[in-house]
């Protein structure tokens, strides 16, 4: 009997032993991969170390764009204990407060300032309260929707939340609601140079991406590369010093040092805004460039936008008009055509034009802007009077091939290469498409479309002894202690230095003998040209709508700046001499003081 019991016991032990072996086999072999992952998740923490996005600095080293700490709020759904509605009720007021703080008043130009609604203050207050109540409900529903998502463990609740709002959420201590530190862009000078800097939005994966301006053009340089830290942790999540630790350091983004002069940018924006209100223009731009190097010192355009709240603005506002928008330049283009004629030797400053009346070209009648004619005008006088008939003569003297060759050499019809994402090439038809009437109208700046930066660059060549420079904004790219300098680039000698000198004197005479002579700062010699171009609308020119502009450079003896002022549809007066020219000289006066340039004749 005892022998049987022992055998039974033995069989039992063998069976138990086999069961244990079988279970071990199951856990260690069959479930190995799954358990290894779980163990790794439990014992290892994998953390992405975000890379700092590079800064954008003005020429004096001050930051135009830098970074600030922000918070990403998320919900880990398996850890949520409270009802989604309750959580939404706690979070929604904070998110709503944040939204309210982000609302901007979008300024419009060219409209009657008294066009506000006739609603009383009480009615407006009621509307606002109702709007807030509705929006709070929407936010709550959105949060509830996200928290109730099936099959997910992690949901995003809010991105880029500033510290003061994050602290309120942290104080609520809601189980399952967590946060990560992230970065957001910060603009110490508020919306200054928005069109130049561009803004940072998200790409299709939700990662930061630069759009427009420098943020867009240099996105690859600015964004850097995130690092990674894998380390062994204990049950409480604390790092184990003797454990495994693998770190890949982040590569911070490279910083851009620009040619933008903060002071010039500030005063250009200030004067342009005042000018827009004074002349009631729909839009306006000012571009200031250093003619000897092509460095962009300032560029302002209105309507603009605030990079912090870019999503609240119309998309049309994001593009920098000085590089992205084309327009018919009008009489300012006469400087380029005249320079071409002088350089080709087909005219001289003393060449006389009959100019006694309108000129007929291919059945079209070309007249002057004011229907006044000056018979036997010299080329100098043609420019002074902004005589369209005289300019047609210059164009005819050049002929189509030479005319187009000079226009292309001056950089029209192709991008200038400036480092802005949204630059366009302007509109210059193929040579075969040019008819005699096109040559005639283009001689006085109508019938072709240029960008403001193309025109500034071309006139800059006149100021620079005939050398055409490539405009640029970034002069240095810095990464840690490494620097890459971007040197000024000369793209060609488009006219001879003697031609440039002669053209400069003609432009000085145009200013001193023209409508703008009363505005010249005393003792300074400025070369310039006004422009009043009609705007083409559905195949014809609108007689009431113009683009008023003035282009010039100074001081003539040693040009420090070339500047274009352009106002779209000014309501106070159509004419460049009465709107853009005074604005140009107001800014020029400030620039002379800023650069410390004394008057040449005291």
């Amino acid at each position: 009997m005892s022998g049987t019991r022992i055998s039974l016991l033995l069989i039992l032990f063998i069976l138990l032993f086999l069961a244990v072996i079988g279970r071990l086999f199951y856990w260690q072999i069959v479930e190995h991969d799954r358990l290894a992952v779980l163990a790794e998740n439990q014992h290892f923490s994998a953390m992405e170390i975000p890379a700092k996005r590079g800064e954008i600095k003005a020429s004096d080293g001050s930051a135009l764009v830098t970074n600030k700490t922000a918070y990403l709020i998320y919900a880990a759904l398996p850890e949520i204990e409270e009802e989604p509605k309750v959580i939404a009720g706690k979070l929604a007021p904070i998110f709503l407060d944040y939204e309210k703080s982000q609302k901007v008043v979008i300024e419009k130009f060219g409209e009657d300032e008294e066009s506000s609604s006739s609603a009383s203050i009480e009615e407006k207050e009621e509307d606002r309260e109702k709007e807030e109540k509705d929006r709070k409900k929407e936010i709550e529903e959105e949060i509830v929707g996200r928290l109730n998502q099936p099959g997910v463990v992690w949901v995003l609740l809010k991105k880029k939340l500033p510290k003061e709002y994050f602290e309120k959420i942290a104080a609520l201590n809601i189980k399952g609601v967590g946060w990560e530190i992230e970065q957001d862009r910060f603009y110490p000078e508020a919306s200054m140079a928005a069109h130049l800097t561009g803004f940072v939005g998200s790409d299709s994966r939700g990662l930061d991406k630069g759009y427009f301006g420098l943020e867009g053009f240099y996105d690859g340089y600015l964004k850097g590369r995130a690092g990674r830290l894998n380390q062994e942790i204990d049950a409480l999540g604390r790092p184990i010093l003797v454990g495994v630790r693998k770190a890949v350091p982040p590569e911070d983004g490279q910083s851009l040092h620009t040619t933008i002069d903060r002071s010039i940018q500030y005063l250009v924006e200030k004067y342009l805004k005042e000018g827009m209100r004074k002349y009631r223009a729909k839009a306006g731009s000012v571009l200031v460039m250093e003619p000897k190097t092509g460095a962009i010192l300032a560029s302002a355009s209105y309507p603009g936008y605030d990079q912090n709240h870019w999503s609240q603005y119309d998309k049309d506002r994001y593009r920098n008009p000085v590089a992205a928008d084309t327009y018919e330049p009008g009489s300012t283009f006469k400087t380029v055509v005249m320079a071409a004629g002088l350089d080709a030797g087909v005219i001289k400053p003393e060449t006389v034009c009959e100019c006694s009346g309108p000129r007929e070209v291919s059945g079209y009648k070309i007249t002057t802007w004011n229907n006044k004619y000056y018979p036997n005008s010299t080329m100098k006088e043609v420019l002074q009077h902004s005589d369209n008939v005289g300019m047609v003569m210059v164009g005819d003297s050049l002929g189509k091939e030479k005319f187009l060759s000079y226009i292309r050499n001056f950089g029209f019809g192709k991008p200038t290469g400036v480092d802005l994402e949204e630059e366009t090439s302007g509109i210059l038809r193929e040579d075969e498409e040019w008819r005699p009437i096109d040559l005639a109208t283009s001689s006085f700046g109508q019938g072709l479309a240029v960008t403001p930066i193309q025109l500034v660059r071309a006139v800059g060549a006149i100021a620079n002894g005939g050398k055409l420079m490539q405009p640029f904004i970034v002069k240095k790219i810095v990464s840690g202690d490494r620097e890459v300098e971007i040197k000024p680039k000369e793209t060609g000698q488009v006219i001879k230095p003697e031609t440039a000198a002669a053209m400069t004197e003609m432009m000085v005479a145009a200013v001193e003998g023209g409508e703008a002579r009363r505005m010249i700062p005393k003792g300074y010699r400025v070369a310039g040209k006004t422009g009043t171009a009609q705007i083409p609308v559905e195949g014809h020119y609108d007689p009431k709508k113009t683009i008023a502009s003035f282009i010039g450079f100074g001081p003539v003896e040693d040009p420090r700046f070339v500047m274009l002022v352009k106002l779209d549809e000014p309501q106070s007066s159509q004419w460049g001499s009465e709107t853009a020219a005074p604005l140009f000289f107001d800014i020029a006066k400030e620039l002379f003081t800023y650069f410390g340039i004394p008057p040449s004749a005291q």
Partner: protein
Amino acid sequence: MTERFKDINIAKSKEIINRRKTKVSHFVFTSKLALSFLFISIIILSLAQLFIVNKLATEGERIKQNELLTKKLSEENINLQNNLQTLGSLSRISKLAESQGFVKIEKVEYFNPSVSIAALKDSF
């Protein structure tokens, strides 16, 4: 003679046996000593390892605290830098200047004498 050889052999054998016994007991004694030493060393080293690992493990908490402090200081640093930049912004300075009664210079005089400053001294 044979008896004597027998006695001598026995004595010699006993001597050899005694010598062997001494050697064995010596060997046993030395082995015991070595084993004891080994055993004690293992105990001591194990205790030491336990102590060191425990100490290092708790250092993890300090590392975490230091990491948090570093993050906090880094954040504070960024905030201070940004505040500094905002204080130096041109629009702020311009508004401040206006509120303090500063006005724009309307006319700028450029001082460019044809004689030296020292020579002009008497005229002041």
